[in-house]
């Protein structure tokens, strides 16, 4: 091969192909190198790419491929063995890496694919969550609406406001077209349109309650979708378009009388109102679940608020009623007071105005009786006197009775001679009885005490009245008056179970029985006997006169004396027995200075002021002892003398009313004795009054006396008058301070 020297060897024609191959290889190599670079660049840019190792491998694979192709470039021309070696090495490496990569990819590609599916899944989830978020937000908003609604509803106790507010708020929250409330009428047979949001229809429009759709709503506690054609829903004028969806819910109306603490009233007795809600027409809106729940909640709240309002109305009404009643009662009380005052005034006037002339008449007639009179005149005067006495008695009786009823009458308690009272009654009644030829006998039990404490005048009045009645209603026969002390077992009378007299130490029950053989009383009239002004129908009684007040007054007196009075009779014509028991006190000591009764007293010494008063005189000095005794004996006291303090303490008893003590004694200090005596008698009324006799009245002595509780102090020597006045002061006041 000679090379020509003329022209460069030209590429053989198949060198064109080689050229293209050459170029292509070059570009391929370029691409092969740039791809990994790009990959690396972008992967580096992205934060997340899980398969780095795969990337490396892949990159290596690509790079080697590129290297192979690059090295191929040199193989187009004559190349040395080195190039061939490099080529071969590159190819070998490439083969290895490619196979490894291929193998790896078998594992990796499914993973890569699944990544994709996961991504899809996550996207779906995200979409779902978005949806739910939307829902929750809506619900929360609904909840807010409910709270606001409830707040609005509950912020007032006025029924109308509650309902109006409900409708308004609901309409606003749910963007309703119309909202209406149907209330049951009084009869319960119809539903009346009571409130609407937009006031399009006349209120008062009624619908019968027994519509199947309405029943359906009433029987379910949830919101029920109803057809827009239902009568309750037809409250808007028919529009051109499709009406929106309508729902209805029942609103329970709780009556106060249905309230029970632990259980709700029966469904059958419940009354319901109907709330109808309409979505705007043409809005293609649907009722969502949360909106329905909102409506249910609101309906419940409304029910509660309505019941509260009902309770409030009720209590307001009750309060108004009470106030009215109060006013009425006040008026009635004032009227009653006026009436009482008027009556009292009347009585006071009657008392005075009527009694004055009466007294004049009686007094002058009595005086007239004393003068010289012809028999006819005497008879006339006697009649006048008798009639005026009767009239005076009547006036007194009426006055007494009204005072008794007022409760203003009080007994005048005093000590009196019981036997004397009965004798007096007997004396008063004997003349009349003898005229009627009635025999009166008095039987007093021996154990009756001679003296008793009570209201003598009224007791006599009672006995006189009872005996008088006996005489009045008897035409003939006898009258037996018996009086005795009521025994314990007889006190409990089966006829008078509510009367439980208890005999005690210082009182007894006097039982008086007046038995007559007169006209008697029929059993059915007996209860009426003690009522005022009541008279039995019998003509015989009517003829006897009397105002019918006597027994009523007696009963009042007997009650005041803590006793009981009753009448027994076997019937008309069989006589009757009047029995009463009264409580009288037993006088403690007959030697009380309050007694009017005088013991035997030597007449020339004047009245002994202190008959039988037991006193104790303690004085060491014989002479002064004797003198003091003389003084006291002269005043009628029963004197015990002791000469020493020990003897004094020994002898002193609860019978001694006064102890005269000389306080300047040796031995025990007089004051000490006083203290000892007071200790001896714990009961106040048993304690004797201690009086100090002393020749010494300085302040110290007086203070000592006061401290010790002595009744007083007398300066020796004592005169008779001084002693007398001292004793009377002491007994009256129980204390005297100083008598000089």
């Amino acid at each position: 091969m000679d090379s020509c020297n003329c022209i460069e060897p030209q590429w053989p024609p198949d060198d064109l192909l080689m050229k293209y191959q050459y170029i292509s290889d070059f570009f391929i190599a370029l691409a092969y190198f740039s791809i990994p670079l790009e990959l690396i660049y972008f992967v580096k840019k992205s934060a997340v790419f899980p398969y780095r190792w795969v990337l490396v491998q892949f990159g290596a694979f690509i790079v080697l491929c590129g290297a192979t192709h690059l090295i191929n470039l040199w193989t187009f021309t004559m190349h040395s063995r080195t190039v061939a070696m490099v080529m071969t090495t590159a190819k070998v490496f490439t083969a290895v890496v490619s196979c490894v990569t291929a193998l790896m990819l078998v594992h990796i590609i499914p993973d890569l694919l699944s990544v994709k599916t996961r991504e899809l899944f996550l996207k779906n989830k995200a979409a779902e969550l978005d949806r739910e978020m939307g829902l929750i937000r809506t619900q929360e908003e609904t909840g807010r609406h409910v709270r606001m609604l409830t707040h609005e509803i509950r912020s007032t106790l006025d029924r109308h406001t509650i309902l109006k507010t409900t409708l308004v708020e609901l309409g606003r929250t749910l963007a309703l077209e119309e909202c209406a409330l149907w209330m049951p009428t009084r009869t319960g047979l119809e539903l009346q349109l009571s409130y609407t949001l937009h006031q399009q229809n006349p209120v008062g429009y009624t619908v019968p309650i027994h519509h199947p759709m309405i029943n359906q709503v009433f029987s379910s506690s949830h919101v029920v979708k109803i057809s827009p054609n239902c009568p309750v829903a037809r409250i808007r004028p028919a529009g051109k378009y499709m009406p929106g969806e309508v729902v209805a819910v029942r609103v329970p109306l709780l009556h106060l009388s249905n309230f029970q603490i632990n259980d709700w009233p029966e469904l059958s007795t419940k009354r319901y109102a109907l709330m109808v809600l309409m979505l705007p027409s043409d809005s293609a809106r649907q009722w969502h679940v949360h909106e329905l729940e909102l409506v249910e909640v609101v309906a419940d709240q409304v029910a509660v608020a309505l019941s509260h309002a009902a309770i409030l109305e009720e209590s307001m009404r009750a309060r108004d009623l009470l106030m009215e009643q109060n006013v009425a009662l006040d008026l009635a009380r004032r009227e009653a007071e006026t009436a009482i005052r008027a009556r009292n005034d009347f009585l006071a006037v009657m008392n005075h105005e009527m009694r004055t002339p009466m007294h004049a008449i009686i007094a002058l007639s009595s005086l007239l009786q004393e003068t010289e009179l012809t028999p006819e005149q005497r008879l006339m005067v006697e009649t006048i006197l008798k009639s005026s006495n009767l009239l005076a008695t009547l006036i007194n009786d009426v006055l007494d009775l009204s005072r008794l009823e007022d409760g203003s009458l009080q007994l005048d308690l005093g000590t009196f001679n019981l036997y004397a009272v009965f004798r007096e009654v007997l004396n008063l009644i004997k003349p009349i009885a003898s005229v009627k030829k009635l025999h009166v006998s008095l039987n007093m039990a021996p154990e009756l005490p001679e003296y008793a404490i009570g209201d003598e005048k009224r007791l006599m009045q009672t006995i006189l009245n009872v005996v008088g009645n006996a005489v009045k209603f008897s035409k003939d026969g006898s009258i037996l008056i018996s009086a005795f002390v009521a025994k314990a077992e007889l006190l409990r009378d089966s006829r008078t179970p509510e009367f439980f007299p208890v005999p005690g130490d210082n009182h007894f029950y006097l039982r008086v029985q007046v038995k007559d053989s007169g006209i008697g009383v029929s059993p059915q009239d007996i209860p009426k006997l003690f009522t005022k002004f009541a008279q039995t129908q019998s003509t015989a009684i009517r003829n006897s006169g009397g105002s019918g007040l006597g027994l009523a007054i007696c009963k009042r007196f007997v009650n005041l004396m803590e006793g009981h009075i009753w009448i027994e009779s076997e019937g008309l014509g069989k006589g009757c027995t009047a029995i009463f028991m009264v409580k009288l006190g037993i006088p403690e000591r007959l030697n009380e200075s309050k007694l009017a009764f005088m013991p035997k007293v030597p007449p020339n010494l004047g009245p002994a002021a202190f008959p039988g008063l037991k006193v104790l005189v303690m004085d060491e000095n014989g002479v002064s002892r004797m003198v003091t005794k003389g003084l006291l004996v002269h005043l009628g006291c029963d004197v015990t003398m002791v000469s020493s303090s020990e003897e004094c303490l020994r002898v002193v008893s609860h019978e001694h009313k006064v102890v005269f003590m000389d306080v300047c004694v040796s031995g025990m200090d007089g004051y000490e004795i006083a203290i000892r005596i007071q200790e001896k008698f714990t009961k106040r009324h048993e304690r004797p009054i201690i009086v100090a006799l002393t020749g010494n009245t300085d302040k110290v002595t007086k203070e000592k006396l006061m401290r010790v509780g002595m009744g007083g102090l007398i300066l020796k020597p004592v005169s008779l008058d001084k002693m007398r006045s001292v004793l009377s002061d002491l007994l009256e006041h129980r204390v005297l301070f100083e008598a000089v």
Partner: protein, 153 residues
């Protein structure tokens, strides 16, 4: 009758002089008022008791005051106190007054003074006793004669 009148007049004079001379005071009159049917001899009884008491007390006092070693003034004082009480009860004014002085001497523990008082007391007491006994005799005589004791003013 004459005798009675005379006796009565004597009685009145005696009583009056006793009062006038300060032997007796109003208290004695009171005692006389206490004399009545129930206690006809009241005054006499009281007086006798007084005399007995006096004698006893005076003896006690003289014995106590004669003690050379140490006079028990307390005892003397007690006796004087008693005497004072008795005399004021009966109305023996002079005796009482002396007793008052006596007491102050006792408190001062003045033996001389006490002895002097004792002497005075004894003297007064005897005087009074005599006069009262005269009076009582007169009373008896009047009563025996059938008269009545005139009320003393």
């Amino acid at each position: 009758m004459d005798v009675v009148n005379q006796l009565q007049r004597q009685f009145i004079d005696n009583s009056a002089s006793l009062h006038r001379e300060g032997f007796l005071d109003d208290q004695f009159t009171q005692l006389q008022k206490l004399q009545d049917e129930n206690s006809p001899d009241f005054v006499v009884e009281v007086a006798s008791l007084f005399f007995e008491d006096c004698e006893k007390l005076i003896n006690n006092m003289s014995r106590a005051l004669e003690q050379q070693q140490g006079v028990d003034f307390k005892q003397v004082d007690a006796s004087v106190h008693q005497l004072k009480g008795s005399s004021s009860s009966i109305g023996a004014v002079r005796v009482k007054n002396i007793c008052v002085a006596f007491r102050s001497f006792c408190e001062a523990q003045n033996r001389e003074g006490c002895l002097r008082c004792l002497q005075q007391v004894t003297h007064e007491y005897s005087l009074l006793k005599n006069k009262l006994q005269t009076l009582f005799r007169l009373e008896k005589q009047i009563l025996a004669a059938g008269g009545s004791i005139p009320g003393v003013e």
